[in-house]
Symmetry: C2
Subunit: 158 residues, 2 copies
């Protein structure tokens, strides 16, 4: 299930998955695992550096089939093992503000993993500055992209 209205600056993807909260946590915080599922095919995540402590780095390099290369270096804000992982593109490692840019948009990712019978409830919130930024992210394919990536993570463990 995803939800977004024109008035909300948040996008939410919520799904019951047949893998555990511990596996969701490993998928998001272990660089060796995140490179295997983070980008919907045919994109690939070629590098990841993650220090899952407040102030730590959350860096990924995503490459597309036509030579595109997106590198992002964010900052971990909360890391509650197996339950909750929060990082933002507004800050770099050590909470250093990123310089203002007119390109793209900033967001904070709030990942919540709740154990259920036979799996977990996965809830991903992308929190933006404004409803307009959320709309840009929605039109880029937030729902299908984050959903397809999640499917890849589930297949890794299921």
């Amino acid at each position: 299930m995803t939800s977004h209205s024109n008035e909300s600056p948040d996008l939410v993807l919520e799904r019951v998955v047949p893998i555990s909260a511990e596996q969701l946590w490993r998928g998001w915080t272990d660089p060796k695992i995140i490179v295997k599922w983070f980008t919907p095919e045919p994109w690939v995540t070629t590098e990841a550096e993650i220090d899952p402590v407040p102030g730590g780095i959350f860096r990924t390099v995503m490459c597309g089939p036509d030579g595109e290369r997106n590198e992002g270096s964010g900052c971990v804000l909360e890391a509650v093992v197996n339950r909750r992982f929060v990082w933002t593109s507004s800050l770099g490692p050590g909470y250093r503000p990123v310089p203002p840019s007119t390109e793209g948009f900033l967001f904070t990712a709030i990942l919540e993993f709740t154990p259920t019978t036979g799996g977990a409830l996965y809830r991903a919130t992308a929190r933006h500055s404004t409803p307009a930024d959320a709309m840009v992210h929605a039109e880029m394919g937030f729902e299908s992209g984050w959903g397809a990536a999640l499917d890849q993570l589930v297949r890794l463990f299921a």
Copy 2:
């Protein structure tokens, strides 16, 4: 002691003060106390709202003698009672990114309070995106301003 070089994006104010780490913590996190010292005279802090937990609000309204009004709503990142308090102007409450602006600069404030015999070591770091932003902050009077405010906090308790 303060330190800044042209190459550093951080400004640091470090001082031994004759009040305790607990009093420094209260000064920074209790809205009823922060309004009494946060702005060097003749500026006054007229309002403060502080929720000292990760994701909580850090909001102040500072007014100048000629009717100036500076309102800032930041986000608490770390709150280690009596020892360490971190907040940023890059995010609003709930870690929501602030919209990019060409005015002013963003920074993260890292406040560290270390008990010493007879008082505490106070260390305030203002962490910026770039050395240029740090220079703007330095030229605005970071050292004298944050120092004069600290003097006011010390006088409140000493």
